[in-house]
Amino acid sequence: MAPDRSEDVVIDIHGLTKRFGDKTVVDDVSLDVRRGEIVGFLGPNGSGKTTTIRMICGLLRPDAGSGTCLGLDIRKDANRIKRLVGYMTQRFSYYEDLTIRENLDFVARIYALPDRAAVVKRTLERLGLYGRRDQLAGSLSGGWKQRLALAASVMHQPRLLLLDEPTAGVDPQARREFWDEIHTLAEDGLTVLVSTHYMDEAERCHRIIYIAYGKIVAGGTVEEVIESSGLSTIIVSGRDVGTIAKIVRDRPGVEQVAPFGNDLHVVGPDPAALRAAVDAALAETGSDAVASAGQTNLEDVFIRLMQTAQAGDLPANGRPTATERSP
């Protein structure tokens, strides 16, 4: 631990709440993010990820709650926070009628970057867009737009990066490069809060936070989240998995059934009941498929979290704390 603790806490918010009309979209959210951490922000569509991120960087006023971002009050110092934060919006929000270079020029001027031309040139080269610098941003493909937006949002060397689904629609190679870069930046002390729907990206984070219906319902490292879900998984492989799926789905002790190619993942909270259900189904169909204990994956956990949150049955210990887990 660094000696000065306050230097180390980048996001520290408590009880953040946001209502639109009579709908509470973000409900009593508390976050504690440390310097150099990469925190994944996950949750179903409409769960309040974008809204939370917007409150952190001062684009929305919270209805309740308070906190600091980089040591600055999120209510009072929004303008100073904006200088130190890089925010990549979910929807492409650079100028489509400006060329790639003009957009980067704009950003460089807005942040008054010294040596603007060189910074823009370097960014273009790193992006691999130097040859297309005079192309209109609006004519880029979706993935390229994302890459441009990301490059633009780190150009002023922010200390905190808020990324709202930065890799939606980006091809695997570009995604990998993107994550490599995020890790490099984090090693230099950049803190990242990134929302995503991709499980493999969640696994690349130091820590994840899961939000559903505006409430944080789980948090920790991927292993911790999986472990605390208490789910176990049996993988059935062989022929006839389709038939087995139909039968096993309604058995007691089975919560989720999901085919993965020729395999079938059967998930439930109680290992013994789960084993019994699968064995019975195998016997019933007379299939020669093999059932073996498998590793519960994050997706299974999230689907469970989503369903329990829907039922209004929220775990009491759903809030992550930073003291338990550092990167």
């Binding site: 917007r54 960087c57 001062g58 684009l59 929305l60 006023r61 110092d77 929004a78 303008n79 100073r80 904006k82 200088r83 934060v85 925010y87 919006t89 929807r91 492409f92 929000s93 650079y94 100028y95 489509e96 009628d97 400006l98 003009e102 020029d105 704009f106 950003v107 460089a108 001027r109 807005i110 942040y111 008054a112």
Partner: protein, 378 residues
């Protein structure tokens, strides 16, 4: 530190705005096209028949004949004669500042000469900067005088009651002696075209960012509301000045409109006026939720601007309440200033009465815009 004004940020916004403007071909074409089309349409085609224009009487001596003339002029509907008599100096001043459109001068001994039959002079000076406003009235004047004199002159003189024989009617069209409509139309058009285009352009400034989703990004940058406003309005001031040049050059080529005053003064007034418009447009865009609304607000503003500014109808001929509204519109003061500068050679001293309302309007619009600007996405 956080509230500081950053030139770099303003520059970023201005450069961006310029590029976007340049790339929007259709708008760019309209900016050049609209003024030329309007200039031709209005300059050649429009004629109006205004009534009840303010008139002053300068008379050496009053008498039954002068009273009859005044009554007949009032009755014709073209003139609204101010009570009492004015001195020559007062009358001249009123013509310059536009508070009188006509001055009727009856020389000393008018009554006596009339009865004697020695054809006294009747001098009518008209502010012809707006020929549409004065030409019909002047055309009707001989008729009006004849009927007035017919009643006054009895006996042997009755036969001579027609204008050419009873009085020597002298008409002076001041400022625009040939009564050319275009001379008046050009200053008016300058005002209306600028009102239309510059307000619209800036009214779309913020709403466009909101509709395209770029506002979220802009808000996430450290740019302050004031910087954003400056960055958004300055390019359009430049743009308005380009338009003014186009209109003036066309006006010169098509209509040979004279330029009595100084270009610098014209430029200064135009700058103030465009400043008012772009800031008003920007204010609209802080209130409107989308581009459609911004456009509607612009048109809503445009109507009184052409109807009540003295462009369509002579300002002094309008009812009191309409004049009041008109006085609150920047275009009213601008049209008056431009007419003054181009046709009468007015200088800064003559125009203070028009400049301060423009400056006040600009400041007020800017203050409202900053107050209305939404700093968050709420």
């Amino acid at each position: 530190m956080s509230g500081g004004f950053s030139l770099s940020r303003v520059l970023a916004l201005m450069v961006k705005e310029f590029i976007q403007m340049r790339r929007d071909r259709l708008t760019f074409a309209m900016i050049i096209g609209i003024p030329i089309i309007q200039l031709v349409l209005f300059g050649y085609a429009i004629n109006l028949d205004p009534k009840r224009l303010p008139t002053l009487i300068v008379a050496g001596d009053g008498g039954p004949a002068s009273r009859a003339i005044v009554a007949a002029m009032e009755a014709s509907g073209y003139f609204s004669v101010a009570p009492g008599l004015a001195t020559e100096a007062e009358a001249n001043e009123a013509l310059i500042d536009g508070s009188a459109s006509y001055v009727i001068t009856l020389p000393p001994g008018f009554e006596r000469d009339l009865v004697r039959g020695s054809r006294p002079q009747l001098l009518v000076e008209a502010d012809a900067t707006d020929p549409a406003a004065t030409s019909n009235a002047l055309g009707a004047l001989p008729q009006i005088l004849s009927s007035a004199l017919k009643r006054e002159l009895t006996g042997p003189l009755a036969a001579e009651a027609s204008v050419p024989s009873a009085v020597d009617l002298v008409i002076q069209r001041r400022y625009n002696p040939e009564g050319i409509t275009a001379y008046n139309i050009v200053p008016g058009l300058l005002g209306t075209i600028l009102t239309m285009t510059t307000i619209l352009m800036t009214a779309l400034a913020l709403t466009r960012e909101i509709e395209r989703g770029t506002m979220e990004n802009l808000m996430a940058t450290p740019a302050t509301p004031f910087e954003i406003m400056i960055g958004k309005i300055v390019p359009y001031i430049g743009f308005g000045l380009v338009q003014v040049s186009v209109i003036l050059v066309c006006a010169q080529i098509l209509f040979h409109v004279p330029m009595m005053g100084s270009f610098v003064v014209l430029l200064a007034v135009t700058f103030l006026f465009i400043g008012c418009n772009v800031t008003l447009g920007y204010t609209f865009s802080t209130i409107a939720r989308n581009q459609m609304q911004a456009m509607q607000m612009t048109f809503f503003w445009f109507l009184p601007s052409i109807l009540l500014s003295g462009f369509m109808f002579p300002f002094r001929g309008m009812p009191e309440w309409a004049q009041l509204i008109g006085s609150a519109l920047p275009i009213t003061h601008y049209i008056r200033s431009v007419r003054g500068i181009m046709l009468k050679g007015s200088g800064p001293a003559d125009l203070t009465g028009e400049m301060w309302p423009l400056a006040a309007f600009w400041l007020a619009a800017g203050a409202i815009a900053l107050f209305r600007y939404r700093r968050t996405l709420d």
